[in-house]
């Protein structure tokens, strides 16, 4: 009996096309696609990190050790040094900002201490321009290579009689991170952790809000179809555009309530994580103390970022609401509409979200870049990233592109409401289905 009933259940569920598409076919297509695209992004990031790092060297000691031996060791490890003329820390910071490169300052007397087996201090200035993981990982890699090179240098200078304690930590790195015109006295690791909570978190909020908008609007229209109230609604003496607007605004109200709730919850989560856990990273190698405390507030960009963030999320909501309406009418009921809208929005949101976390769009192969730029939601993440990095012009361009996409989607939605497709459209998968006459 169980076998008979089970066969019926499986057959019924598999024949339900929305389940077949949403739960089985789409994951088979989307996840490999996402894996491929994210892999490409990660590869590009890693290649960039491994391709050779150019570092400015401000050598205030000017000995054979610092002008020949150290550069030689670093070159062997893929780091190319260029000479930077600066003598004071502030001067070097200005040079790093101007030339957009990381700079290592070797202070006067470094060689004397180093050859005497005394731990020596170096200052590193990390100039972070974008929040992509590729750039962070490049800076982190530089930090690791630097420590490794100094260990090799210590071994070469002191030979087998080296003090193990000195060998373990021959230099004390004093890191400075230059980001958005701010100077943060913290290791890159701490900045990376804060970046992740901020620049992973903010797009995540956008993803959640946008997804919720599409689900609410799809549910709204599908509910009208399922409960058979749509026909009544369409015959009231109101212009169709007014009916569409009421749907859009109703969705916005719901999504705004949800967003406020989400932001409060997520904000508390972010503050807790950023303030208490992720940003309190023990970092014994650096001079600035055993622990570094950073919150996303320390990294908060220019005042223009907030309007950019809010406007890009609102436009994304508009786009997703329209997509929800357009897809929602295809479903014959709420369940199938929600399945379909998930199947459509997931591939639109997730690939750009994941890829742009790993690498800036400029670092991607051309074909991937074009594919991503055709996705309206890529511009949502670009707007947030650019706005956060203080590149207001690029953020505005991304917002304008989103507005263009939103206008097209609004036009399509209004055409849907003007005609009879709202009533007659159903997913037919190649077979035209006539209405019951």
């Amino acid at each position: 009996m169980l076998r008979i009933l089970l066969r019926k259940e499986v057959k019924e569920l598999l024949m339900e096309r929305s389940i077949l598409i949403g739960a089985i076919i789409i994951p088979l297509i989307v996840f490999p696609l996402m894996g491929a695209l994210t892999g490409l992004g990660m590869s590009a990031a890693m290649e960039k990190a491994e391709a050779g790092i150019i570092i400015g060297l401000a050598d205030l000691d000017k000995t054979r050790l610092t002008t020949a031996e150290l550069p030689g060791l670093l070159k062997e490890r893929g780091i190319q040094l260029i000479k930077v003329e600066c003598s004071a820390e502030e001067e070097c910071i200005e040079a790093a900002a101007r030339q957009a490169i990381n700079i290592m300052i070797i202070p006067n007397g470094f060689t004397r201490n180093f050859t005497s087996g005394i731990q020596s201090k170096i200052i590193t200035i990390y100039s972070i321009r974008s929040a992509a993981i590729s750039e962070i990982s490049m800076s982190q890699r530089f930090s690791e290579i630097l420590l490794d090179s100094f260990k090799s240098l210590a071994e070469r200078v002191h030979g087998s009689g080296i003090d193990p304690k000195f060998f373990e930590k021959p230099v004390l790195e004093s890191p400075l991170v230059l980001y958005l015109g701010k100077m943060l006295r913290a290791p890159v690791t701490a900045i990376a952790a804060t970046f992740l909570t901020t620049l992973f978190g903010l797009p995540l909020v956008a993803v959640m809000v946008a997804s919720y908008a599409s689900t609410v609007s799809a549910t709204s229209i599908a509910l009208e179809k399922e409960s058979k109230t749509l026909e009544l609604l369409l015959t009231i003496p109101a212009r169709r555009i007014v009916i569409l607007l009421s749907k859009l605004l109703g969705t916005f109200v719901m999504v705004l309530l949800s967003t406020i709730s989400f932001l409060v919850g997520f904000g508390i989560y972010g503050l807790m994580i950023a303030g208490s856990m992720m940003a309190r990273i023990p970092f014994e190698e650096v001079e600035i103390g055993p622990q570094v405390s950073l919150t996303f507030l320390d990294l908060w960009p220019s005042p223009a970022f907030l309007p950019i963030l809010v406007s890009s999320i609102i436009i994304a909501m508009v786009m997703m609401t329209c997509i929800g309406l357009l897809v929602g009418v295809l479903g014959s009921d709420v369940r199938s509409a929600q399945q379909l809208v998930g199947a459509v929005t997931f591939p639109l949101l997730m690939p750009p979200f994941f890829i742009l976390v790993f690498t800036p769009v400029q670092g991607l192969p051309m074909d991937v870049k074009i594919a991503l730029l055709l996705d309206p939601f890529t511009h949502l993440f670009l707007a947030i990233h650019s706005g956060f990095a203080g590149d207001i012009n690029s953020a505005i361009i991304s917002i304008m592109v989103m507005l263009g996409f939103a206008s097209v989607l609004l036009l399509l939605s209004s055409r849907l409401f003007m005609g009879e497709r709202l009533i007659t459209t159903k997913v037919t998968f190649g077979r035209k289905r006539a209405l019951e006459a």
Binding site: L232, T235, A434
Partner: protein, 238 residues
């Protein structure tokens, strides 16, 4: 001027031609019935008159306004009760009546009329999701009739209802016609209901009107004792 003039209505869904040139006229204050087997084209015809569907050919005038060219004007003159129309589950009956009155720019008096037509008592203060099928149909009909539209389009208003609810709805329709002088187009599979309500009927089959006339005329013409027999004979002919 006739209240409704349908002229050569054609409607296709893909390759399926559902209406093949439907034409009829309905006089003011007349109750006009559309009967026919399932799939004959009754609902499609009513949906075109209600401006939900657009005809591929032909046109229909409601109070002189074209459903193709002036749908907004048509909607001001009609009220449509779709077949098996659902309700907003979380609204109370009273809220729904107020919503409909507001949508048509009517005042509180209209809602009071609706309360009377529905005859649902205290249940009007409960969410409509808790209503039985008959109660849902009564609140929907009340919301339509209280608006006092010039043309009422009713698609199977009593389908699936028990006798008490069906009788209530038929009585309300009849009383409404008598009091308001509105024009009603109604489709139904219930021939007794059609005979009770309609001044004139048209029989549709295969997207065409096969015959029309007063119930008595049709019974005479087809030598039948009642409309069910007329229906049976017409189906065989069609």
């Amino acid at each position: 001027m006739n209240a409704v003039v349908a002229c050569g209505l054609v409607k296709r869904f893909g390759s399926n031609e559902v209406l093949k040139g439907i034409s009829f006229e309905v006089k003011r204050s007349e109750v006009f019935g559309l009967i026919g087997p399932n799939g004959a084209g009754k609902t499609t015809t009513l949906r075109i008159l209600a401006t939900i569907l657009r005809p591929d050919a032909g046109d229909a005038l409601i109070m002189g306004h074209s459903v193709k060219d002036e749908p907004d004007e048509v909607r001001k003159n009609i009220a449509y009760l779709p077949e098996d129309a659902g309700v907003y589950r979380h609204l109370t009956g009273l809220e729904f009546l107020s919503l409909m009155a507001g949508a048509y720019g009517k005042d509180r008096k209209c809602v009071e009329d609706g309360i009377g037509i529905a005859g649902l008592g205290d249940a009007l203060r409960k969410p409509m999701g808790s209503y039985s099928k008959g109660m849902k149909r009564r609140i929907m009909l009340a919301a339509i009739l209280m608006l006092r539209p010039r043309v009422v389009i009713l698609d199977e208003p009593t389908a699936g209802l028990d006798v008490l609810h069906a009788v209530h709805i038929r009585d309300r329709i009849r009383r409404f016609v008598r009091e308001s002088g509105a024009t009603v187009i109604v489709s139904s599979h219930n021939m007794l209901e059609i005979e009770y309500l309609c001044d004139r009927i048209a029989f549709i089959s295969g997207g065409r009107i096969i015959t029309d006339g007063r119930p008595e005329e049709l019974k005479r013409k087809y030598q039948a004792e009642n409309l069910e027999e007329v229906f049976e004979r017409l189906v065989k002919v069609a």
